[in-house]
């Protein structure tokens, strides 16, 4: 069942209805089976419980700072996302006339921010009810700053994906992985005077940034490769050349330098990045970007929570996740003409 056949005579609600239908349909696609919904519900419940456990007994100032910071970031991120959506509607969508109308834009922003406030409210109530007002206020402040920043930065201008696409293509090349590994080794050398904890943290952060860059994906390219007959392992092989080169150079060099802790961190982070990339490749083969990212996000959260709560079960959960994504990806077909 889908949202359909809407009465679109209300001109001002058109962009809102358009995106509401997309969200509802994407969610229904991403969680089409009872097992998907069960996993999602479990992850949400565990996440809320974890949030509560993390904040309930903290000193008020610490908890308030965390809630205010996270809420402000959520508000600013939502504002940025909504500006991008409105820019899509005005520049490339079918509803530009409605999306350019200031009244329709206000309705759109108010409706989606109300949704964001609702989700934040539930999360804050579960975590620490006394921080509800602070969380909502911080969200609104973050949203206001996000809107101002988007306007100042020309957030309504047409997105130009080509530059990002070209950069992602460069980052997937083995030479990018080799350069990243050399850069990391130079960083390790530069930090050798530091104590182990800060040095480990800095190198770990640098590794995460490098791996995130090298494992970024272009969803449309994945779909095009699928359309062209590329199977998932081949796509993964092409996309993984950069991070594999990074690991192939970084790991032996760190071991040779008698630094097994950093070698372990680099290995773990790279393998985690590759696993996340493989999951996204499988999801992009059979879902739109938003549905795929939602699905992979839920799976990643399930894996993280399992890793924290019951590490022994992590391999089983990972196998189940990849089996599930592979099963969904296998029948993906597109018509050529």
């Amino acid at each position: 069942m889908t949202v359909s056949g809407v009465d679109s005579t209300n001109f001002l609600r058109k962009p809102l209805r358009h995106d509401r239908m997309i969200v509802v349909n994407e969610l229904r696609r991403a969680f089409s089976s009872w097992s998907d919904r069960l996993i999602a519900a479990s992850v949400v419940l565990i996440a809320l419980a974890t949030l509560h456990a993390s904040l309930a007994d903290r000193p008020w100032l610490v908890a308030a700072s965390a809630v205010a910071g996270l809420s402000a970031i959520a508000g600013a991120s939502a504002a940025r996302l909504l500006h991008r959506r409105l820019a899509f509607h005005t520049d490339e969508g079918a509803l530009a006339d409605a999306a350019l109308d200031p009244r329709a834009r206000r309705r759109y922003l108010v409706a989606f921010h109300a949704l964001g406030l609702g989700v934040l409210g539930v999360a804050t109530l579960a975590a620490r009810p006394s921080l509800l007002a602070l969380g909502l206020a911080a969200y609104l402040a973050g949203a206001a700053l996000g809107h101002l920043a988007s306007l100042a930065a020309g957030g309504l201008a047409l997105r130009r994906p080509t530059a990002g696409r070209a950069m992602r293509a460069q980052l997937r090349r083995p030479i990018a992985g080799a350069l990243a590994a050399i850069g990391l080794l130079l960083l390790v050398l530069a930090l050798r005077g530091l104590d182990t904890p800060p040095r480990t943290a800095l190198v770990g952060a640098a590794t995460v940034i490098a791996v995130l860059g090298m494992t970024s994906l272009d969803d449309s390219a994945i779909r095009f490769m699928t359309l062209s007959g590329y199977r998932a392992p081949r796509i993964l092989g092409l996309a993984a050349r950069g991070p594999l080169a990074f690991l192939a150079i970084g790991l032996p060099a760190l071991l040779a330098a008698a630094n097994p802790l950093l070698a372990g961190i680099v290995t773990l982070v790279t393998l985690a990045g590759l696993a996340l990339m493989a999951a996204r490749i499988l999801a992009y083969r059979s879902h739109g970007k938003r549905a795929a990212d939602t699905l992979v996000g839920i799976c990643a959260a399930a894996a993280c929570l399992t890793g924290l709560a019951a590490p022994m079960l992590l391999p089983i959960v990972m196998i189940a996740i990849f089996w599930h994504l592979s099963r969904r990806s296998a029948p993906a077909t597109w018509l050529l003409a």
Binding site: G5, A94, L158, L335, A337
Partner: protein
């Protein structure tokens, strides 16, 4: 033919910026009602930017854009409301059905289908209506995108390379349907790469090179072109080759 005497679209010194760069400069144009203008030019010559600005999808950086006597150069909302516009087929949302999009643009679905008339028939919209956009081929998406330009019943329509991805039969039928609609009073502006369509179906043409008008092609030229399309193609290609790419 009397309707053709009234100018409905006029550009004077129109300029468009994208990404901080001027991509369309000083374009002049006057288009009568019931006319089909074909816009040609190399990739990156500014065709799409000009069409999008005309239809309110981009702002004009300068110049005048007079629609039905009113200068709307600084009023994107008004321009977007005046033009039917086919969104890029590859940007249609995959999580909607074709019927959802038509209803969002045109209102009541049955009325929208009736409004599409000839376009509905030649593009086979009835067979697409229940499909998810994500399950449509490139050609099907293109057919849906073109239908969206006509779903609102506008008398001014902008189509960017409408024959891309269409199979030969659909392209042939669409060309004849568009010509019929233009003869019935529609004012149509299309970007084209098909010089044959320009020569045989359009009333006027314009060649853009590096954002500027390199050649204005009037009815007399197009009539000569339709009599000798090969010579027209040769001349046009030579001219395109001689112009710098954007």
């Amino acid at each position: 033919m009397a309707a053709r005497l009234s100018i409905v679209i006029q550009l004077r010194g129109a300029s468009v910026d994208r990404g901080g760069k001027r991509v369309v400069r000083d374009v002049d144009l006057a288009l009568s009602a019931g006319t089909w203008l074909g816009l040609i030019g190399a990739n990156g010559s500014g065709k799409t930017s000009l069409l999008r600005a005309l239809a309110g999808r981009l702002p004009f950086a300068g110049g005048a854009c007079v629609i039905d006597g009113a200068d709307l150069a600084q009023d994107r909302l008004a321009r977007a409301g005046r033009f039917g516009f086919a969104p890029p087929a590859d940007r249609l949302p995959e999580a909607l059905r074709v019927r959802d999009l038509l209803a969002l643009v045109g209102g009541d679905l049955d009325a929208t289908r009736d409004r599409l008339g000839l376009i509905r028939t030649v593009l086979g919209i009835d067979s697409l209506i229940d499909r998810w956009v994500g399950d449509c081929s490139a050609g099907m998406r293109q057919r849906a995108a073109i239908a969206l330009a006509f779903a609102g019943g506008h008398s001014l329509v902008v189509l960017d390379e409408p024959f891309n991805w269409l199979d030969p039969v659909a392209a042939f039928d669409l060309r004849h349907a568009l010509r019929t609609l233009v003869d019935g009073g529609l004012t149509l502006v299309t970007a084209l790469h098909d010089l044959g369509t320009l020569a045989t179906a359009c009333d006027e043409g314009m060649m853009l090179a590096d954002g500027r008008v390199a050649l204005a092609i009037d009815r007399a030229m197009l009539e000569r072109a339709s009599r000798d399309p090969q010579a027209f193609e040769r001349q046009t290609i030579d001219l395109l080759r001689s112009k710098p790419r954007g």
